[in-house]
Amino acid sequence: MATLSNTDLTVADANITTLKDGSGNNPSTPAEIVSGRIKAWVNMDGSGTAHIDTSFNMTSITDHSTGVYTLTIATDFGSADWVAAGMCGTDNTTTHFLGTANAAPAAGTLKIQTVNDGGGLIDCTHIMVMMVGDQ
């Protein structure tokens, strides 16, 4: 096995078995990176005219009704079987919960709902969702 030493290496495609730091620590395989990295995330405001504050790999959100939204992903997942997690809240002391709404996720969309601690749908000002899975 050869050792390549270069301060700045520019290459179009690097086929690497294991990526490590300069000391040989912090190993990651390409498979771990692909499976483990976040494929999409969104920070959105569901109040008033619902809108995305900042996002990665998201196309848009659709505001269906109070507390119910569909998130549309730019580069779809390979199937509908992926994972999302998140949190939500407003600028007060009420507890809020984020969950999937009454629709099956698809490769390119996820319907979510935000609920208060009384079980009622509510528009939260802060909704944060991240998504992982196979694309």
């Binding site: 490590k20 190993p27 976040i38 009454n102």
Partner: protein, 135 residues
């Protein structure tokens, strides 16, 4: 520009061809999800899709143990989650919470409970859990 084929790449900073989007191997190791699972608690509980997960054990209504394949270094890792049903009323919120049993989470497993907004355990059909931490 050619393709680089290498078994072990020791890199201080990984960038794109324009020298932008820098990531260190430490960033990758710390920031990538170490395990995730999409599981269904309705009927016979089962894994829909997962990464670095060995199995889930159905402990009762809304109660399951998720077992990790490659363990964490200790029990102090981070889990984020979401949950919901593809049926039921529109305001029926669900939440995956980490069981407060003092024996868990361990390096190998985490126990989760799904409840509705009335604090009753529920066998929800879409449960998402993502884990970050040191392995």
């Amino acid at each position: 520009m050619s393709t680089l084929n290498v078994t072990n790449a020791q890199i201080t900073t990984l960038k794109d061809a324009s020298g932008n989007n820098p990531t260190t191997p430490s960033d990758l190791v710390k920031g990538r999800a170490k395990a995730w699972i999409n599981y269904d608690m309705s009927g016979t509980a089962g894994i829909t899709e997962s990464f670095n997960i060995t199995s889930i054990t159905d402990n009762g209504t809304g109660d399951c143990t998720v077992t990790i394949a490659t363990d964490f270094d200790d029990g102090n890792y981070c889990c984020v989650s979401a949950s919901g049903n593809n049926h039921g009323s529109g305001s029926d919120g669900h939440l995956v919470i980490i069981n407060d049993d003092s024996a868990i989470p361990t390096t190998t497993a985490v126990k989760c409970i799904t409840k509705n907004d009335a604090n009753a355990a529920r066998d929800t059909d879409r449960n998402y859990l993502v884990m970050f931490g040191d392995q």
